[in-house]
Amino acid sequence: MFRKRLLCAVMTASAVALGAMSALAQSGQPIKIGSILSVTGPASFLGEPEKKVLELYVDRINKAGGVAGRPIQLTVYDDGGAADKAASFTKRLLESDGVDAILGGTTTAATMAAVPLVERAGVPFISLAGAVVITEPVKTWVFKTPHTDRMAVEKVYGDMKKRGFTRVALLSEDSGFGKSGRDQALTVAKLVGMTVVADETYGAKDADVSAQVTKIRGAEGVQAVLVSGLGQGPAMVTRDYRKLGVSAPLYHLHGVASKEFIRLAGDAAEGVRLPAAGLVVAAQLPDSDPQKKVATEFTKTYEEAFKSEVSTFAGHAYDALMIYTDAVKRAGGTDKAKVRDAIEQTKGYVGTGGVVNMSATDHMGLGLDAFHMVEVKKGDWALVK
């Protein structure tokens, strides 16, 4: 009885609030976009460019007259890489700022902390994080722009097999992305006939991983090593790896596709391979590649505005903003349910991550074709042919 009344009260309250909001929304009011990003902390080189890109493009869109005549109002909160902060900022965006949509969750952990809240509130949410768990199983309001870790692992194993390696050692981070990557690496290994000969973990905030690397160095018959992590952690792993003189080739996932990684790891990054969206090797793509134009243009805009090199993470934020604003145009307003449907119907959007074709069963919409193996050569990315 009590519970029913309570539910009733909550429902009336939210219905009134919703009604009030949508009435306001249609009259030339700003479109409120909220964003939770890891601008500081171990994933800062992912979150920082994401924030810059959102601010840059929101500014450009507003100067050009907004979306369907309405300006965008952007609110960004920094979760510092902590899931609990991401959850409380999500609450703040939903309850206090009353946003029309949320872009972000730089990390898998932040995204998964926000998911129950946005699902309950019914607000479109486009994540910038990698793990497959975000969109599989499909959640009504949740979408994502980067490739999944499963695709990254498939790509890496494919490259290893091409080079004749079948015995791989795993070194994974204790972060959400790191753990998910490890799970995928173990599962996919069985499917494609790879043998995992060592399985070590490290902490995202560790200052030293030489103990783990020493163990991998001592493991029997290691032909290649795959690190599953994002941000600063893998740079530290790379350095300790070279320092201890391990000779097996080193692979990372797409959580490090930024020049910042090469800068932090220094010479140790030479020869490291990882899968990445075409954005970081835009100039090396063949002219026939559908992505070439978008990626080159975005790179030019980014590098002119910030005087620093573009990363795939900047691209994820750009894609999320474009997919959302495009959906708003097609839905004819910011009505949350209509925009959600419109996002789900995104077809043929050519973004920095690839060509996006979403559906009711695929809330990411990317194929493997836009995912490339790259190798660090002389401090730059080189496309592996």
């Binding site: 899931a83 703040r92 129950p116 809240l117």
Partner: protein, 315 residues
């Protein structure tokens, strides 16, 4: 006696009127978090303020309560209240086991030992990934009591406010009891208290266990309310935050602990307007308050008011 009831009544009135002044659920959310912190701080204040024992590890007990609830309710489908009680019991047992040897330590050694225990608890929570979900934490089911689901900020506010009143009432009674008087003697001088025939070791241990239980219960409720618990809620910085609330509001003052918890829960949210400068501001405010009001906010203000009135009376 009347003084005590007066304070409690005032707190009840403030808590009852507060929701009227809060524009939306976000502010209600802050009030709830402040209330939960206040419950921990009232308990911690018994230890720090009245028994004169430093603890830099109480977030560990908050974490034990929160994770007991998270694991038992969400994974093993226990009834919420049973899980809460189990967490409190576990905290009590751990606190009891370490209390005797640790509370023998003095000053900074005690700070070190409690800090160590808190950090060990948080590292266990962070590392036992299979049970606790690791650094990213785990999702917790909503609080369900005998079929009623406690959900939504409004309902939670009243639950936490009620519990805070009960906690404060308990603490006030304890302070005024013979045990409480022994406690106050202890803060003055342990040796003196002992010569008067007070079993200081027993009392210190008792207060330590009690404050751990308060922290654990608040942790359990927090886990249900937030719906997500991470090891950050059990780590060193959270412990420091809790002690700071107690000292900031005023050591040896129950209402000071409540005020301290409220201010320091809201302050970081307000400081977000300073953007890049927010951490500097927080550090500066803490330092200045402690340097200029070493006894804390409430006792210093009370002292000022008292001086003013006695001055006026003389005139």
């Amino acid at each position: 006696m009347t003084h005590r009831l007066l304070g409690l009544g005032l707190l009840a009135v403030v808590l009852a009127l507060l929701p009227l002044g809060l524009p939306n659920n976000f502010y209600l959310d802050m009030a709830i978090l402040a209330g939960l912190n206040a419950i921990v701080c009232v308990g911690l204040n018994l230890l720090v303020g009245f028994a004169g024992q430093v603890s830099l590890g109480h977030a560990g007990f908050f974490g034990i309560g929160a994770y007991a609830t998270a694991v038992l309710v969400s994974t093993h489908k226990w009834p919420a209240l049973l899980a809460l009680a189990a967490g409190a019991l576990l905290s009590a047992v751990i606190a009891f086991a370490v209390a005797r040897p640790i509370l023998r330590l003095k000053g900074h050694y005690l700070a070190m030992a409690t800090l160590g225990i808190g950090i060990i608890i948080s590292i266990v929570l962070r590392t036992e990934t299979r049970i606790t979900g690791g650094p990213d934490g785990m999702i917790v089911d909503p609080l369900n009591v005998f079929g009623f689901e406690v959900y939504g900020e409004r309902v939670w506010y009243w639950v936490v406010a009620g519990l805070l009143l009960v906690t404060v009432w308990l603490a006030l009674n304890l302070i005024d009891s013979p045990v409480g008087r022994a406690l106050r003697a202890l803060h003055g001088s342990e040796v003196a208290a002992e010569t008067l025939g007070v079993d200081t070791a027993r009392f210190k241990a008792m207060v330590f266990v009690l404050s751990a239980v308060f922290a654990s219960v608040a942790g359990s409720l927090f886990a249900h309310y937030a719906g997500l618990i991470t090891p950050a809620k059990a780590d060193f910085l959270k412990s420091v935050e809790l002690v700071t609330m107690v000292v900031f509001g005023g050591m040896a003052s129950t209402f000071g602990a409540v005020v301290g918890a409220a201010i320091l829960t809201v302050l970081p949210q307000l400081l977000t307007v300073f953007q890049d400068y927010q951490h500097m501001m927080l550090g500066l405010i803490l330092m200045l308050t402690m340097v200029f009001m070493p006894k804390g906010l409430l006792p210093t203000l009370a002292g000022l008011v008292q001086a003013r009135t006695s001055l006026g009376g003389r005139r």
